[in-house]
């Protein structure tokens, strides 16, 4: 229990409670189920790509190309639809395309051993450029209502994307907590060479994670296109930074080896609620931009204070 109180999760929960309390005092309407349901509908694409980002950061990697992959997958879906192909088939192709894009990232990183920051920085520009090129930067819209229900439809009052998110979160949690693959991830992130010498197929793990990340970006693209009713090359702009922020805010170490699904989920909720509240109360959309940075700083400060007070007390009690 004591250990939990000092953990990042506890800090995030503390901040979240403080925020909601403040919101409830200042804008009671914000803290209602109806408002929260409405506001949450724009969160899910970020939420589902944050999970593979966590796994990649845990092996000491990074993927800056996720926003661009979302754009390219979305444009693929749009262009197929424009040629008269059912958007549902287009969606499957888009997810497959995402997997392929992720795999090409993985190939450079795992087989050619190029630093992931450089590889995905390059593919971030390349994928976005291809998306703009093949779509001529036009918006492609007019999808049938049946397709739009993919992101707007609900089952027992819960929107479909939530189920997608839940599925991804639970699998990630299971893999990290129970599966051998999860132990491999931690081992690679902690000390890659040790992991390699102890027989862990490092390259294969990397390939799998980057490919998976691409495919999940494909899923996010499908949901985004279905929700916006438009595929366009500027889809998912800046998504990578938001995802990385959520992961780091959730307590994952950017050097790898450490991270929790629960932390990322809490980080996501905290980012989302803070942003929504700030633009709700101050009614200035551009404030959204500074919230991400401010949140990260406040979280680190709170954590620092908590751990410092402990360090400060220790000698006096000893």
């Amino acid at each position: 229990m004591k250990a939990f109180l000092r953990s990042r999760e506890a800090v995030l929960i503390l901040l979240l409670i403080a925020l909601l309390l403040m919101a409830w005092l200042m804008e009671p309407r914000f803290v209602t189920i109806r408002s929260q349901m409405l506001l949450a509908s724009h969160l899910w694409e970020l939420a589902i790509v944050a999970i593979p980002m966590l796994l990649i950061i845990m092996i000491g990697g990074i993927d800056l190309s996720i926003g661009a992959m979302v754009a390219l997958c979305g444009v693929v879906l749009g262009l197929l639809f424009e040629r008269g192909i059912s958007p549902f088939i287009g969606a499957l192709v888009a997810i497959a395309a995402g997997g392929f894009l992720g795999m090409s990232n993985g190939w450079f990183i795992a087989k050619l051993r190029v630093h992931p920051l450089i590889v995905t920085l390059a593919t971030m520009a390349a994928f976005r450029g291809i998306a703009e090129g093949i779509s001529l930067a036009r918006p492609i819209s007019g999808y049938p209502d049946t397709f739009q229900t993919l992101s707007q439809g609900k089952m027992v009052g819960i929107p479909y994307p939530v189920f997608v998110f839940a599925l991804i979160v639970l699998s990630a949690w299971f893999v990290l907590a129970k599966a051998r693959f999860g132990r491999w991830i931690v081992a690679i992130g902690t000390e890659e060479n040790v992991a390699r010498f102890s027989g862990i197929p490092v390259a294969r793990v990397k390939m799998i994670l980057y490919t998976l990340c691409g495919a999940i970006c494909g899923i996010a693209a499908v949901l985004l296109v279905a929700r916006n009713n438009t595929a366009k090359a500027d889809l998912g702009m800046g998504l990578e930074l938001e995802a990385i922020t959520a992961v780091v805010l959730g307590g994952a170490s950017i050097d790898g080896g450490k991270g929790k699904v629960l932390g990322v989920a809490l980080g996501l909720i905290l980012i989302h609620e803070t942003r929504q509240f700030v633009s709700w109360h101050w009614k200035q959309n551009e404030l959204n931009l500074i919230v991400l940075g401010a949140l990260l700083i406040v979280t680190l400060l709170v954590e620092r204070v908590l751990s410092q007070t402990r360090a400060f007390k220790m000698p006096t009690t000893a």
């Binding site: 724009h42 918006p139 101050w282 400060l301 204070v305 410092q308």
Partner: protein
């Protein structure tokens, strides 16, 4: 010691945050607390969404809107994505739905993206209107329409004729449009052709597309000056085509030999107007557009503006016509070297 400092700075940070919120709250209650002397009794909240926040054109619209909001006891939220990203705009509409504003006035950057959010707003009992640009009719009740195609067509032709010698204007003229499929532009061209009949000396020799590409507008204008050596005037009827055509004339050294006019904002064309390359820039009055939008929102919320209405009382603008589901602003303004200094947008 170190911990204390961090603790202190954190407390200071929280106090700043608290200070901000306290200040904002005071502002809020002050504005809601002051009863307006106007006849609009109940305060309503109107959320006004521009295509892109921070663009001089829309900022100038918001100034007019702010003025109307003061007069009509309206709390105005003027906010939009600084990136112009329609998905971001849809997010904001959802937030306004949750806040329960009374009216949402949208200038849709992409009607397909904003449509579903606008429908959700209507389903939640919020009045939705469009301004500046329209969306599908089932996503809004009224459009506040800045100018009729006929007025725009007439103003363009009249401005050109004035430059070329008034009623006796003579010479070959050409049109550089957006895309050949652009609906707005085609409407204007239709009325321009009708208006051109009033000036028998003017002969339209071609309509060329520029596909919203300034470089293409530049080269198309160059080509036409070569192909028609007697070309006297170019109508560049998109905000992208206009500077392209003006630059072509400037570089060809044909200032005062070939005239160009079109639709744009004063800021975009200011240097060309001051240099004398462009004599007149046509646009509607943006402040009045914002003003009328808030008037329409207020009237809609009060039930004074319903389908079938033919007029709308619009404060300092007087009575405005309502045609079908369009509230007409009407009237264009022409920016020239003499007055362009008075406009900053």
């Amino acid at each position: 010691m170190k911990a204390k400092w961090i603790g202190l700075s954190l407390v200071a940070g929280l106090m700043v945050l608290g200070g901000c919120s306290g200040g904002a709250k005071e502002g809020d209650t002050a504005s809601t607390g002051s009863p307006d002397t106007g006849n609009s009794s109940k305060k309503i909240t109107v959320a006004m969404l521009p295509k892109k926040k921070g663009v001089p054109y829309f900022t100038s619209c918001s100034e007019g809107a702010q003025q109307a909001a003061k007069e009509l006891n309206v709390e105005l939220i003027y906010d939009g994505p600084t990136s112009g990203d329609p998905a971001e705009a849809a997010k904001m509409i959802d937030q306004w739905i949750a806040q329960g504003v009374d009216v949402i006035a949208v200038s849709p950057n992409d009607p397909a993206v904003l449509g579903p959010a606008m429908k959700r707003a209507r389903d939640a009992g919020i009045k939705v209107i469009t301004w500046d640009a329209d969306a599908a009719p089932d996503t809004r009740e009224f459009l506040v329409n800045q100018a009729t195609p006929e007025e725009i067509g007439n103003s363009l032709v009249d401005a050109m004729a004035k430059d070329l010698g008034g009623d006796k204007a003579a010479g070959e003229v050409a049109i550089v449009t957006a895309a050949l499929t652009a609906a707005n532009q085609n409407e204007w061209i239709k009325f321009m052709k009708t208006r051109l009949e009033k000036y028998p000396g003017l002969k339209l020799v071609g309509v060329k597309p520029s596909n919203e590409d300034q470089k293409l507008a530049f080269s198309v204008s160059q080509d036409m000056m070569k192909a028609y050596p007697n070309l006297k005037g170019i109508f560049a009827i998109s905000s992208v085509a206009f500077p392209g055509a003006a630059e072509a004339i400037k570089q060809a050294g044909k200032t005062d030999k070939v005239f160009v006019t079109g639709l744009s904002t004063p800021n975009d064309m200011r240097s060309y107007v001051n240099e004398g390359v462009v004599k007149s820039v046509i646009l509607w009055n943006t402040k009045d557009l914002g003003y009328l939008t808030i008037c329409a929102a207020r009237a809609l919320a009060d039930g004074d503006l319903k389908s079938g209405a033919t007029t709308l009382k619009a404060g300092r603008l007087g009575e405005k016509k309502v045609v079908g589901d369009n509230v007409m602003l009407g009237g264009t303004i022409t920016f020239t070297k003499e007055n362009i200094g008075d406009f900053d947008f």
